[in-house]
């Protein structure tokens, strides 16, 4: 397994106020790879979707823990892992279908579609009753003078 050149883990409570904190933290961490503005925005948006999914769905009757793991690799890619220990997803394939949501009409059901559009790869592992882990990967373009 290839080791990251840098990594960080944030743990926070499943409050919606932490959505902005999560995406801004990921954007700050990604800055080490000297991304373009579009690349930073893509990372922020994907993190926002994954974290929001956990906040909305993982702990329906209480607050719970969410971790955001950020890893940078020598090939200028970034790996983002959002993990919760909540209710889990019974049918991951169904959950990833555009417009599908178990939320109310305030949810568009497009979270996974956005993640898949903005990241190079999205992997979802979930066990009902145990929690969900979403791992995403994005290559950041190399520019002159970039590096950590």
């Amino acid at each position: 397994m290839i080791k990251p050149i840098n990594e960080a883990v944030l743990t926070f409570v499943s409050r919606s106020a932490n959505e902005g904190f999560a995406r801004t933290s990921a954007a700050c961490f990604a800055a080490q790879l000297d991304p373009t503005l579009d690349e930073v925005n893509d990372v922020k948006t994907a993190v926002s979707e994954a974290v929001t999914n956990s906040i909305v769905h993982a702990y329906p009757n209480s607050l719970g823990k969410i971790t955001l793991k950020l890893r940078l690799f020598a090939d200028n890619s970034m790996e983002i892992t959002v993990r919760d220990w909540g209710v889990g997803i019974a049918d991951v394939e169904q959950a990833r279908t555009p417009l599908f949501t178990t939320g109310n009409e305030e949810r568009s059901g497009m979270g996974f579609t956005i993640m898949e559009s903005f990241m190079d790869a999205v992997k979802v592992r979930s066990v009902p009753g145990k929690g969900t882990t979403v791992t995403m990967r994005r290559r950041i373009s190399r520019r002159m003078g970039a590096g950590v």
Binding site: E105, E106, S108, M110, I114
Partner: protein, 101 residues
Amino acid sequence: MSVTCSGEGRALTLAVSGEVDHHGAKRIMDELECHVAAALPNMLTLDLGGVTFMDSSGIAVLLRAHRRLRELGGTLSVTGTPPQAARVLRAAGLEKLIQFN
């Protein structure tokens, strides 16, 4: 996040500023419902020029606005969409449903 309302007659403009995410979306939808119920517009323009970030919660807001205007027999248009929000809305194919200026 803020929503400001302007307009004349049954043409309503709602200008949204700040971050349109799950945390802020409910308030935006509540303000939208409130202003639409009061004005019963036949034309609603959503001005997104002040939006600093949008995720798929913004898609839900636009779909709600579209649905409400359709119920009233009116039209929805969106203006001033910044590049990050435009990318999200394009990923959802919303330009096929809603007029973007």
